[in-house]
């Protein structure tokens, strides 16, 4: 695989990642959100694999496999079990209506691209042009977290943000050292489990996963 072709493939996967971030922003159903998260993980694993192959960085192979196992199989499975037990398959409520959210999203993408452009000019890695996309998907996941009312979609937004950060690390510096990556992966997994426990506690307390109830905590 030539350098330019692999660069183009990484660019394409980056664009796919951005597209998925937008899809998540516009989704109304939790099940689809989880599926999109899994797809995002798959795109991430594929792009890491391509970067590993084309630059000969062997530790990236491990992180690609780690991403595949963790983000495509394990976390979506845990989330599926969670929403089955909580019976919240369908409810995603947004604070702002979806077309407005999308327009704000476009603004964020323009901001991220403008921010990343001077950095990309100086970088020398084959993935340099994807830094803006990585930044944009982090910001979009952030927006997903902000505009959702329920706890589960917010957590999915958080996980998507982690995906974006991971991609930024791959595109900027060909990934973090393996020890750091292992640590982060474990943290995310444990975080998901803890979130699961939180969900049950929130529901027990308020009979719903709507986090607006938490704002009233002081008054009672």
């Amino acid at each position: 695989m030539s350098q330019s072709l692999s660069g183009q493939l990484v660019n394409l996967l980056a664009a796919f990642l951005l597209l998925l971030a937008f899809e998540m922003l516009s989704q109304r159903r939790i099940l689809t959100l989880i599926r999109l998260l899994a797809w995002q993980g798959a795109a991430l694993a594929a792009s890491t694999l391509i970067v590993a192959y084309s630059t000969g960085q062997t530790h990236l192979y491990f992180s690609a496999v780690l991403t595949l196992v963790l983000k495509v199989i394990l976390i979506p499975w845990v989330l599926h079990r969670l929403i089955d037990q909580l019976h919240v398959r369908w409810d995603v409520e947004t604070l702002i209506n979806i077309p407005t959210t999308m327009l704000i999203g476009i603004g964020l993408v323009i901001f991220a691209f403008a921010l990343a452009a001077p950095i990309s000019e100086m970088a020398s890695t084959i993935t340099r042009s994807t830094l803006g996309i990585a930044l944009a998907s982090v910001l979009l996941s952030f927006l997903t977290m902000i505009v959702r009312r329920k706890a589960v979609p917010q957590v999915i937004g958080f996980l998507a943000m982690e995906n974006g950060l991971f991609f930024a690390a791959t595109s900027a510096t060909y990934g973090m050292p393996l020890v750091v990556e292992l640590g982060v992966a474990l943290d995310v997994l444990v975080g998901t489990f803890i979130f699961g426990i939180f969900f049950f506690h929130i529901r027990e307390q308020f009979d719903s996963l709507d986090i607006r109830h938490m704002e009233k905590l002081k008054e009672d």
């Binding site: 330019s4 072709l5 183009q8 493939l9 660019n11 394409l12 980056a14 664009a15 796919f16 951005l18 597209l19 937008f22 516009s26 979806i98 077309p99 999308m102 327009l103 999203g105 476009i106 993408v109 323009i110 691209f113 990343a116 452009a117 990309s120 340099r128 042009s129 994807t130 803006g132 996309i133």
Partner: protein, 316 residues
């Protein structure tokens, strides 16, 4: 290449578009029937329908203005013009420099305005309803369409469709993420503009869902035949614009007769795949509620804008 040969090519291409368009429609309907476990009608059914309609006597409402009679011919003429501008079989045709992609969108808009006016002309409630819905969809779809075309224009540095095709067909193989975005956006616009399923159901006569059908309810016989034919040509034109922008391989040069069989073969293969894909998409998707259509089309617009932004970011 001599002017005569190029002109002959142009005439051949225009005739080809007009004659082959119902075949594409028939193929889409056939695929859709198969996918829905029905036995498929003949692929030639659109031709039979058009022929049958031409043999009937036209009934026109008593209060209809000349505009009502004129509209089918305008629609047909606009679509034919579009079919002449788009590089279907060959680039560098004498007709192509007369209009670029922006003018092409304008031609489609002209047809839409006329059909909406004719729908309101009779004064039935269905006509007004259909016209309003059509204008809603049209004004949302048009910016998305323009943005999509601009993305391709930025890559090749020209708004002339032939120049775009030449520069995209003769480059070395490269993956453009921006073109991928633009292609998805274009597919969404195509579905909306041609009254296909997520936006409009072309086979229904239900008041709640119909858009295009509501506008042409008052038409009969040869007028209806022309409108149906124009719809088929529109689908064909959109398909070939898509092919020209995103898969332009195998297209012939103007007046080059030797390359014609290859061009026809490549086009037939691409349209074969396009029709099957469209039918699959229509089977998989559900009809959207009308109030969700703006969301669908704003999604298309967003994708087109993203495509343009990625083009500027991922140039290197």
């Amino acid at each position: 290449m001599s002017v005569a040969a190029e002109s002959a090519f142009q005439i051949l291409q225009s005739a080809f578009v007009v004659l082959a368009a119902p075949l594409l429609m028939g193929w889409v309907n056939m695929c859709r029937a198969w996918l829905q476990n029905r036995s498929a009608p003949s692929i030639l059914l659109p031709y039979f329908t058009i022929g049958k309609l031409f043999h009937k006597d036209a009934v026109i409402a008593a209060r209809a203005s000349p505009l009502f009679r004129l509209t089918p011919y305008v629609l047909f003429g606009c679509m034919w013009l579009a079919g002449g501008i788009v590089p279907v079989l060959a680039v560098d045709l004498p007709f192509a420099p007369t209009a670029d992609i922006i003018a092409l969108v304008g031609v489609f808009a002209l047809a839409r305005v006329f059909s909406a006016l004719a729908a309101m002309d009779i004064g039935t409630s269905f006509g007004g309803l259909g016209a309003r819905r059509e204008m809603l969809i049209g004004f949302l779809a048009e910016p998305a369409m323009l943005m999509t075309l601009f993305t391709a224009a930025f890559i090749s540095g020209s708004t002339q469709l032939t120049t775009i095709v030449v520069s995209l067909a003769h480059r070395e193989f490269a993956i453009y993420p921006s073109l991928a975005f633009a292609a998805v956006a274009f597919a969404m616009v195509l579905l909306a503009e041609n009254a296909r399923i997520p936006v409009d159901n072309p086979t229904t006569h239900l008041e709640l869902t119909m858009v295009h059908e509501a506008m042409i309810l008052e038409y009969s016989a040869r007028h209806l035949a022309l409108i149906e034919w124009a719809a088929a040509i529109k689908l064909f034109a959109y398909a070939t614009i898509g092919i020209a922008l995103f898969a332009p391989w195998g297209i012939a040069d103007g007046g080059n007769w030797a390359a014609l069989p290859v061009a026809v073969g490549a086009l037939a293969l691409k349209l074969f795949l396009f029709g099957a894909g469209l039918a699959l998409l229509e089977t998989l998707l559900a009809k959207l509620r009308l109030f969700l259509v703006p969301e669908f089309l704003s999604g298309a617009f967003l994708l087109a804008v993203l495509g343009m932004l990625t083009h500027f970011l991922v140039r290197g």
